[in-house]
């Protein structure tokens, strides 16, 4: 009992306090930044439009969510890949390939007289299988032959691009069943404003004219599907052995190998997962626009990587989470729609996104420095 008095008592120094502050800021900055952006655009859009345009409307939120589904899905797979210490450059063209494959299969079955919903399901299934094969191929080459993922996925990206363009002949694959359109655009809820309006679950209200124009679709199916997949991904990364091994491989491949982590199998699975999430993005694109396009995902690759980085996933591997990627995607989407609604020349978007990406990495590095990771690295 008397010994206790002799024990050195640790007093948190002011240096520790500053350190904790930086760590805390680095953890929540993306949330704060996102909230700040929404507040900023709500006020500024309202002022510049003399109160006519409401940035915080359901419709704007729905448009934003629909816009980011592809980026979020690609970013989800990319999150696993980058945390495990790799990079996947093929997701853009794999999304395009899946869009084309799903459309072609739907079209062929629909024209052959198959039930339209079965045709749509088969289109999704076929596209996801093709995507999985591409991802598994990348993963196998990376794991078994030791070629850097940057190079393998760059090569696979070109292959996917070629295959997608050959299958589609460079055209948009159209003439799809109405079921595809419904899946890509209808929603969980419908809100009809005004008299005789209300909220309707699942069934589309039978309205016309002004009421139809004012009707809001809340949680459209692509958003719902993306949401479910993101939740599953977040669960897998945070709570399962698969997720733990993803972090471990990114932290130290050698240590993971020595500990008996099936590094090769994990690498193949992670790249397959990345391709499948990109493939799902392609399928949802096909449904949303009722047409398959080879170039559907090409402009989104860099956006998805930017979203992952803004969300705090370290490019050196071993660090990050799914929620960060979702926030990163939201930040990009809100920047883009906000700037457009402010009437800013759209080319400024790129500059702003670029600055935010670099800012995110700087914050990441500051945290590493403070956490004492830099000296160990």
């Amino acid at each position: 009992m008397t010994d206790a008095a002799a024990e050195p008592v640790t007093v948190p120094s002011s240096r520790d306090a500053g350190r904790r502050l930086i760590l805390a800021v680095s953890r929540v900055w993306a949330w704060v930044f996102l909230a700040g952006l929404i507040a900023f655009f709500t006020v500024s859009v309202s002022i510049t439009s003399d109160g006519v345009i409401n940035f915080l409307s359901i419709r704007n939120a729905e448009i934003t969510l629909m816009t980011i589904t592809a980026v979020v899905l690609m970013g989800l797979g990319q999150t696993f890949v980058i945390i495990s210490g790799g990079i996947d450059l093929s997701v853009g063209w794999i999304m395009g390939l899946s869009s084309v494959v799903s459309a072609e299969v739907m079209l062929a079955l629909f024209e052959a007289g198959v039930d339209q919903w079965i045709a749509v399901a088969a289109g999704f299934g076929a596209a996801l299988i093709v995507a999985a094969l591409f991802g598994a191929t990348s993963g196998t080459i990376i794991a078994k032959l030791g070629v850097p993922s940057f190079i393998v996925t760059l090569g696979v990206s070109f292959v996917a691009r070629g295959v997608a363009l050959i299958i589609s002949g460079g055209n948009v694959v159209s003439g799809l069943p109405p079921a595809a359109r419904d899946l890509g655009n209808e929603a969980l809820f419908y809100v009809v404003p005004g008299e005789g309006g209300g909220i309707s679950l699942l069934t589309k209200p039978d309205v016309a004219g002004e009421a139809l124009r004012g009707m809001e679709r809340v949680l459209q199916w692509p958003v719902v599907i993306t949401g479910i997949v993101v939740l599953l991904g977040a669960f897998a990364l945070a709570r399962t052995q698969f997720g733990r091994h993803t972090y471990a491989i990114g932290g130290s491949r050698v240590a993971s190998l020595r500990a008996g982590v099936p590094v090769d199998r994990m690498t193949i699975l992670i790249f397959t997962l990345s391709a499948v999430t990109a493939g799902l993005a392609g399928c949802l694109y096909t449904a949303r626009f009722t047409g398959g396009s080879a170039i559907a995902g090409e402009p989104l690759l860099l956006n998805s990587i930017a979203a992952v980085i803004i969300g705090g996933v370290s490019m050196f591997g071993g660090r990050g989470n799914v929620m960060g990627t979702v926030i990163g995607s939201l930040i990009i989407a809100i920047l883009v729609t906000g700037l457009i609604m402010l009437g800013v020349d759209p080319f400024w978007q790129f500059i702003v996104i670029g600055v935010v990406v670099i800012l995110a990495v700087l914050i990441d590095q500051a945290r590493d420095l403070v956490a004492g990771r830099a000296e160990a690295a």
Binding site: G251, S252, R373
Partner: protein
């Protein structure tokens, strides 16, 4: 728990040594890195393996831990010949190697590292398992306690721990997974003096728990402090095997530089 008086005149059956290396040869092209080395390690024994750089110490232990496979001779575990194709095979047989670095994932915490590759899982619904973090934390705390290892920042990432703490975690992991033989390659390198002492005292703890240790070190005072026997290698051959109590560092150095050789070939 029989007392020795039970049958004093009947010699106890001689158990085969835990590890026996017999006439092991390992060649790399024209170079013979390990040349006919034999070595025995018994339960609770700490054996020092010393020699100059390039003497073949590392190659020898890599042949034991499954990184390399010997070209001639054999490795016996409890008297049974074994052949490890990969390090993980040796590990499964209970041979754990503690490296200076690269043994832990720096971005994971203590418990995640102790259970890395062998995570405890819980079934949520059929086919879906989650990590049983609570159980792994409890078990990790227990094993650290049993080795008298204190890590105040238990949930911190390994990268934020000191070198000695990391070494201790690696040892704790080996102990938790019931290592039957521990190979330590320069475990005190890059450590501060108090941390070196801690690692050496951990070797003592292992010994008292019956886990034999092969210690590779250039630091002779460390070797003399904790070993029972010292094996000296020079140019791929074993040149001396001495009880630690009956030798001194001057003599060991003479063996290390090749000035003395107890096993000089006849021809």
């Amino acid at each position: 728990m029989d007392t020795l008086t039970a049958a004093p005149d009947v010699p106890a059956p001689v158990e085969p040594p835990m590890l026996a290396v017999v006439d092991l040869v390992k060649r790399f092209g024209g170079l013979t890195a390990v040349n006919g080395v034999s070595l025995e390690v018994r339960a609770g024994e700490v054996v020092g393996l010393v020699g100059d750089n390039g003497a073949g110490k590392s190659t020898l232990i890599k042949c034991i831990s499954g990184v390399h496979q010997g070209d001639e001779g054999e490795v016996l575990l409890d008297g049974q010949p074994v052949r490890f194709a990969k390090p993980i095979d040796a590990r499964r047989a209970g041979i754990e190697t503690i490296y200076q670095d690269l043994a832990l994932a720096g971005n994971l915490d203590v418990s995640a590292n102790i259970f890395l590759g062998r995570e405890v899982r819980r079934r949520v619904v059929p086919g879906v398992h989650t990590l049983d973090e609570k159980r792994m934390l409890e078990e990790s705390r227990k094993v650290l306690e049993s080795l008298d290892i204190r890590i105040p920042r238990f949930r911190a990432e390994i990268d934020n721990l000191s070198g000695g703490q990391r070494q201790a975690v690696a040892i704790a992991r080996a102990v938790y997974w019931k290592a039957r033989l521990m190979i330590m390659d320069e475990p005190t390198n890059n450590l501060g003096v108090p941390e070196q002492r801690k690692v050496l005292s951990l070797i003592g703890t292992l010994k008292s728990q019956g886990v034999p240790v092969i210690l590779i070190s250039h630091t002779l005072p460390d070797v003399f402090a904790v070993t029972d026997r010292i094996v000296v290698m020079h140019r791929g051959r074993k040149v001396a095997e001495k009880a630690t109590a009956s030798t001194n560092s001057t003599e060991i150095v003479e063996y290390m530089v090749g000035a003395r050789d107890d096993f000089r070939p006849e021809h």
